[in-house]
């Protein structure tokens, strides 16, 4: 559309080639192999047993009672963390939007968890915060005279949700803060003079302004939360039972703990399908917002 001659159209195509071809390879090769593995018998503990097994890996994976739980947990995790982080991120951003003493430092403190690596996040919460005897949360319970909660045992999925929310809330907050800075101040003042309440301002001025950044936050969070792994691996190992097993962890468990690559691959195919359903949903919902 832009450059008229053949030569430069070729150049345009060449510009795209590295990105498209490497990503295609990165996607297609594992995909094809995964699909292939999902139809054969492939167990690392029984290297001699092999051969085509049809749908039985899928059957095995689906009928595994953990499968339903894993899908449910994946979606629950995703939904809760997105809702929590967007709500609290927005509230915090609104709170610290106007100047007050130490605003800059408060902002830095608030966003810090976003730069913490998942492994540290997981260990920090597992031990120092949630340990039922020595942990900070247990000390608080004791201080108030209640029975300390054994977080990872009794509320495993909720614990993971807390960790992830702690990590992603700063991200949402950071983006909302930046977005709020570009709000039309005069519009806000005018509406104050007109006697608009905070809720009216929120509804008719802030929310429309934040629609796009909100889409961005949701989109990026979904991308990363669909495949949460380290936090679960390190803290609960998916347990107790399957209480905190998501799809990512289930596949990992099948492949590397049960050594059943075939079943794990069938699970991976499910994960890919689930991801694509969410992706299509999301792109429908949000893609438009991101464009112009």
């Amino acid at each position: 559309m832009s450059s008229p001659d053949q030569e430069s159209r070729l150049t345009q195509r060449l510009l795209l080639t590295p990105a498209v071809s490497t990503l295609l390879l990165w996607m297609i090769v594992p995909l094809v192999m995964t699909i292939y593995f999902s139809f054969i018998r492939y167990n690392l503990m029984q290297p001699d047993a092999s051969g085509f097994v049809g749908w039985s890996n899928y059957e095995f994976f689906i009928t595994n009672p953990a499968f339903g739980d894993a899908v449910f947990n994946t979606l629950l995790l995703l939904g809760s963390v997105v809702i929590i982080t967007v709500t609290f991120g927005l509230a915090l951003a609104l709170l610290i939007n106007d100047p007050f003493p130490g605003q800059g430092l408060v902002r830095v403190l608030l966003i810090s968890p976003f730069f913490i690596m998942p492994t540290v996040n997981a260990l920090l919460w597992k031990h120092m915060m949630m340990n039922p005897i020595y942990g900070v949360l247990a000390q608080i319970s004791v201080f108030f005279g209640t029975e300390p909660i054994n977080w990872l045992q009794d509320l495993p999925l909720f614990s993971v949700i807390i960790m992830l929310s702690w990590q992603w809330m700063p991200f949402a907050c950071l983006i909302f803060i930046t977005s709020l800075q570009s709000m039309d101040k005069e519009q806000l003042e005018a509406s104050s003079l007109d006697g608009a309440t905070f809720w009216q301002q929120f509804r008719y001025l802030y929310l429309p302004h934040l629609a796009r950044p909100m889409s961005v936050v949701i989109m990026i969070e979904v991308i990363f939360l669909l495949s949460v792994f380290a936090e679960i691996f390190i803290t609960t190992s998916g347990g107790p039972g399957t209480a905190s097993t998501n799809l990512a962890y289930l596949i990992f468990a099948e492949a590397l703990l049960n050594f059943d690559v075939g079943a794990a691959s069938a699970g991976a195919v499910f994960a890919i399908i689930l991801a694509n359903i969410v992706a299509i949903f999301l792109i429908r919902m949000i893609g438009k917002n991101l464009e112009n």
Partner: protein
């Protein structure tokens, strides 16, 4: 600092609430930082100690036992190299999407993003097998390539949205002035989008530094990054909080400080141009 404010009840409440919440959010990190200077016994004292004689012995012990610098070096190498490589691939693609779009551009961009939604576990086994066959298990090279690939879609999107903010006419004017594609890029686009390219690079650096899934599954002693160093303190020595804290502080310190300094830059690119 306090002089220029017109104090009223609302401002007091806002200030107190903001500080309280910020400290609450930051508390776990602070706690960890403090713990890293305790002895193991002090670390698990109940109630937690806040006044004690700080010691550096955890830090020295971590270095003695697990060669912190080796892991740190791997972290630096993989994240820097993958960032550079990613920019080299993503910039031309983003240029093409932003300034020479075709009917399929939008679809290709959406497809790129959708590869990011595919859970990494879906690709783990094949990638593991491929690395095994090629002798690339536990190699810095493979890790760099993987980091590049997992960050590429987001990099393309960020750069794209950034380039989109540059008026097309400016590049067209350069073309009319006789600029080749390279001149156009080097003398016009690059200076104008330095901020966006920098923020894209920063984010890629943070994401690579913090990446854990591939690191845990594909590396061990040789190519492990700080993420795996931390994980190695996980289960068996779980209760050695002081050392765990020290190693964690060492692992996240560089990137957190880096993040503080670059937060403004970062968010600008992160928002896909949504924040004007």
């Amino acid at each position: 600092m306090f002089g220029s404010y017109e104090w009223n009840k609302k401002l007091v409440i806002r200030t107190v609430a903001s500080w309280a919440l910020a400290l609450l959010v930051f508390f776990p990190i602070l706690f960890m930082l403090v713990t890293s200077f305790k002895t193991e016994l002090q670390a698990i004292a109940v109630p937690s100690l806040w006044v004690f004689e700080p010691t550096l012995e955890n830090y020295t012990e971590v270095q003695d036992r697990s060669d912190y610098l080796h892991f740190a070096w791997n972290s630096i190498i993989t994240s820097v190299l993958s960032t550079i490589l990613g920019l080299l691939i993503a910039v031309p693609a983003a240029y093409s999407f932003a300034f020479a779009p075709t009917k399929r551009s939008k679809d290709i961009m959406m497809w790129m993003l959708s590869t990011k939604m595919m859970p990494a576990v879906g690709a783990l086994i094949p990638i593991y097998v491929i690395c095994q066959k090629l002798g690339l298990l536990d190699s810095v090279f493979a890790l760099t390539i993987i980091f590049t690939m997992i960050n590429l879609p987001i990099m393309v999107w960020m750069l794209y949205s950034n380039f989109k903010d540059i008026p097309r006419e400016i590049l067209e004017a350069a073309r009319m002035d006789g600029a080749t594609l390279w001149d156009e890029f080097r003398q016009v686009l690059l200076p104008l989008s330095m901020g966006g390219i920098a923020s894209t690079g920063l984010l890629c650096l943070v994401l690579s530094w913090n990446e854990a899934f591939w690191v845990l599954n594909l590396t061990s002693a040789n190519a492990g990054t700080l993420a795996s160093l931390v994980a190695s303190y996980s289960s068996p020595e779980g209760l050695f909080w002081a050392k765990l804290s020290a190693v964690s502080v060492l692992a996240i310190g560089p990137i957190v400080v880096f993040g503080w300094f670059s937060q403004k830059q970062l968010v600008q690119g992160l928002t896909f141009g949504a924040v004007k």
